[in-house]
């Protein structure tokens, strides 16, 4: 079974990718503006609710409950989908999921599909697969459309084109859309004009294409229903107008009952876009004789999720409802943007999910892409303790390294073991203090060290305070002696 998720295996380590991203001043500006806007909206709209913490407690407990009974809930979900006239497919990995979806489209002789944004389809790299087999996938989310036409990659899973500004969008539309045919040969740069261009470009596809592919925010075990939360209306188009609907959903998206939505509906839009509710929420159950597609297929995706489930501490990452509040709160993501993570899920949640999905074989630099400030945990509507899981993954990576001679002899490992030894003895500590004071001697001037061998990662941009002549414990010992004297 493949362990690769997207291009994570080939992505450069975060430190390297971040360095380049930080130098892109356009990106820096876009990221700062976007994350600050959403963050403020989110804080205001959450501040409106006196029972936000109670909602968080319920959401967290409900998700933990689902994981404890996940097998039973998945089986119940399947039974109810079938009872309501739908079909259920199970995909162990991305290869299998792609195959299932491709087969379904080919069985119906489809050459085109309309897609409503789903990160899961990016995770399994569905679009290239379809295109390689003569099937054209049309992204219909404005942001995904921009990404698709601009041959770019998503950098945020709620606002994927957050790293692109309106001028850049206009350029993409001018290059790739048949604007003259659409009656928009003098396309302006204001957002409403760009939205109008997207509307016209997509409308004829909605009314024509017969197969739709979607994801889902929630899968309800009690009824076999699915839920899609969206702002633009393209989701409703793809869920309602085609003849055949295929929904791809991760197995962790299951919730027990229709009633459980009362918690998540209250939290998702507030956390994701700072709105009380997203403009449209669609709930549907397989097929309905008078309304919507005649045929419905749901593809349940594992692709490493059972691996995450195995880790008692790490499995809380599966509670994620993909609101991206952690991305918006994160001081690291807010400066480097999503591409630096080299992963389909970036930001704090990506840093704990990506390595686990891939059995810690890839995305190994991501657990270190954090100062552990805790802003993500504070923002998370389902109370995923991201800092704790980051430390847990760091410990697994360290243990992994310590099992090989190369890791054992690494500077970091030796240094850490040495320091632990020093801290286990008062006399060793005092000796270490003296050595450090001596060692820094030639490099200090006016109480400061500006450069010192081995410390360049710090000193190339920051000064270091020099070690004072007397440590605290030495001062205390002298004071004691003076008092006795």
């Amino acid at each position: 079974m493949s362990i690769r998720i997207g291009k994570a295996a080939e992505a450069p380590p975060f430190q390297e990718a971040a360095r380049h991203a930080l130098e892109d001043s356009q990106l820096r500006h876009n990221m700062r503006h976007a994350t600050h806007v959403i963050r403020n909206k989110r804080n205001n709209i959450v501040g409106e609710l006196p029972d936000w913490e109670q909602l968080r407690a319920a959401a967290s407990a409900a998700k933990a409950h689902v994981m404890r009974y996940l097998d039973l809930y998945l089986e119940q979900f399947e039974r109810n989908v079938i009872k309501a006239g739908g079909h259920v497919h199970w995909a162990s990995d991305a290869d299998e999921a792609r195959q299932i979806i491709r087969d379904l489209v080919e069985q119906h002789g489809g050459k085109e599909v309309i897609k409503v944004k789903t990160m899961t389809s990016e995770e399994i790299e569905l679009n290239p697969e379809l295109a390689a087999h003569g099937i054209t996938p049309y992204e219909t989310d404005l942001a995904e459309l921009i990404i698709q036409l601009g041959e770019d990659f998503s950098s945020h899973f709620v606002v994927p084109a957050l790293h692109i500004n309106h001028l850049q969008i206009r350029q993409i539309f001018k290059r790739k859309m048949p604007l003259e045919q659409m009656g928009l040969s003098d396309l302006g740069e204001k957002p409403p004009e760009l939205a109008e261009a997207a509307r016209r470009y997509l409308r004829e596809k909605f009314l024509r294409v017969k197969i739709g592919v979607s994801g889902a925010n929630f899968a309800i075990a009690e009824t076999g229903s699915l839920v899609v939360v969206e702002s633009e209306g393209n989701g409703r188009m793809c869920l309602t107008l085609p003849d055949v609907l295929i929904t791809l959903v991760g197995i962790e998206k299951v919730v027990p009952t229709f009633q459980d939505l009362e918690v998540f509906f209250n939290m998702l839009a507030r956390s994701a876009t700072g709105e009380r509710m997203s403009p449209y929420v669609s709930v549907w159950t397989a097929v309905n004789p008078n309304d919507g597609p005649k045929e419905f297929h749901v593809v349940l995706l594992d692709n490493g999720r059972t691996r995450v489930l195995e880790d008692e501490e790490g499995r809380q990452a599966l509670h994620c409802i993909r609101c991206a509040a952690c991305l918006n709160a994160c001081p690291v993501y807010g400066r480097t943007g999503g591409h630096a993570y080299g992963a389909v899920y970036p930001g704090p949640i990506g840093a704990i999910l990506m390595p686990q999905l891939q059995a810690l074989e890839h995305s190994q630099s991501l657990p270190y892409a954090s100062s552990l400030c805790g802003a993500c945990y504070e923002a998370c509507p389902v109370k995923i303790n991201i800092p704790e899981v980051l430390i847990h993954l760091r410990s697994k990576l360290v243990q992994g390294k310590q099992e090989h001679i190369g890791g054992k002899l690494s500077r970091e490992n030796i240094g850490m073991k040495m320091m632990s030894r020093v801290f286990q003895s008062e006399s060793r500590l005092r000796r270490a203090h003296k050595l450090a004071r001596l060692g820094q001697g030639p490099f200090k001037a006016d109480g400061v060290v500006s450069s010192m061998p081995g410390f360049s990662a710090w000193t190339r941009s920051r000064d270091l305070p020099a070690i004072p002549k007397q440590s605290f414990r030495e001062w205390w010992r002298d004071r004691g002696r003076q008092k006795r004297a």
């Binding site: 400066r335 657990p367 100062s371 430390i391 801290f423 710090w458 440590s471 605290f472």
Partner: protein
């Protein structure tokens, strides 16, 4: 009260003046301070970097050193957050029921310095005097870990002649994050640049915090940039009096 000082490993070596300031304030308030020299390090750096096994002996040593202390006070919110949030869990992972009991009994007696003054001693006015423009940076561990809230502000408001200026975007991390500042030096520096910019915008003469780890990072840039703005631990401002002003 007999207060057992846990000065924190980095303060011991790099910022002894912070320890001295804590002693001064507590003695001024009429308490006795003891310093158990067996103390070394709480193990946070190892733990956060993923060297859990290597942090376990440090947990043991901390517990052995302070097991029978009446109360422990530390001028480091990151150390206290390590002890409060992670020691109980780590002790359980070490499969030592005696140790777990010791940790569970000790943790409630461990305080960060500013919360010790306000919550344990019930004191906000410590008799301090510091006639300068000061801005306060809430360290992430103090803000989100220990949830100190307005405790530091209440203490600073009682410092005579001190002019406290609110730091814009104060809840943003300064970018230190322990080994993060080395492993991800570029991102760390980018975060620091924004923190320094907001500090300079306040036109304060001094930036203070409950943690010298953040302050060391902030100092690194304020000094390199020849900004003239200084950094100090909140204890040093609270220790300052007319007779013995903090400089």
């Amino acid at each position: 009260m007999l207060v057992s000082l846990f000065v924190a490993c980095y303060n011991d070596l790099l910022f002894p003046q912070t320890g001295r300031a804590v002693v001064k304030v507590l003695e001024r308030l009429g308490h006795t301070v003891e310093f158990r020299s067996a103390q070394t390090c709480c193990g946070q750096m190892h733990y956060n970097t993923g060297y859990i096994r290597e942090s376990e002996p440090l947990l043991r040593r901390f517990v052995e050193t302070f097991r029978d202390a009446e109360v422990v006070c530390a001028p480091s919110s990151s150390c206290v957050a390590m002890i409060r949030d992670h020691y109980p869990k780590l002790a359980r992972e070490m499969n030592d029921p005696g140790l777990v009991a010791d940790v569970d009994q000790l943790v409630p007696r461990v305080f960060e310095f500013s919360e010790f003054l306000v919550k344990k001693l019930g004191v906000e006015d410590v008799g301090a005097y510091y006639p300068h423009r000061v801005t306060y940076h809430p360290a992430c561990h103090s803000l989100r870990g220990l949830k100190l809230g307005d405790i530091p502000y209440r203490l600073l408001q009682k410092v005579r002649s001190l002019q406290l200026i609110e730091l814009p975007e104060k809840e943003e991390c300064c970018g230190f994050g322990g080994t993060f500042s080395i492993k991800n030096a570029d991102t760390s520096q980018a975060m620091l640049a924004d923190k320094v910019r907001t500090i300079l915008d306040t036109e304060a003469e001094l930036c203070i915090a409950t943690d010298n780890s953040c302050l060391m990072h902030i100092f690194g840039s304020l000094h390199r940039g020849r900004t003239g703005v200084k950094t100090a631990h909140i204890a040093e401002v609270l220790a300052s009096t007319e007779g013995e002003p903090f400089v």
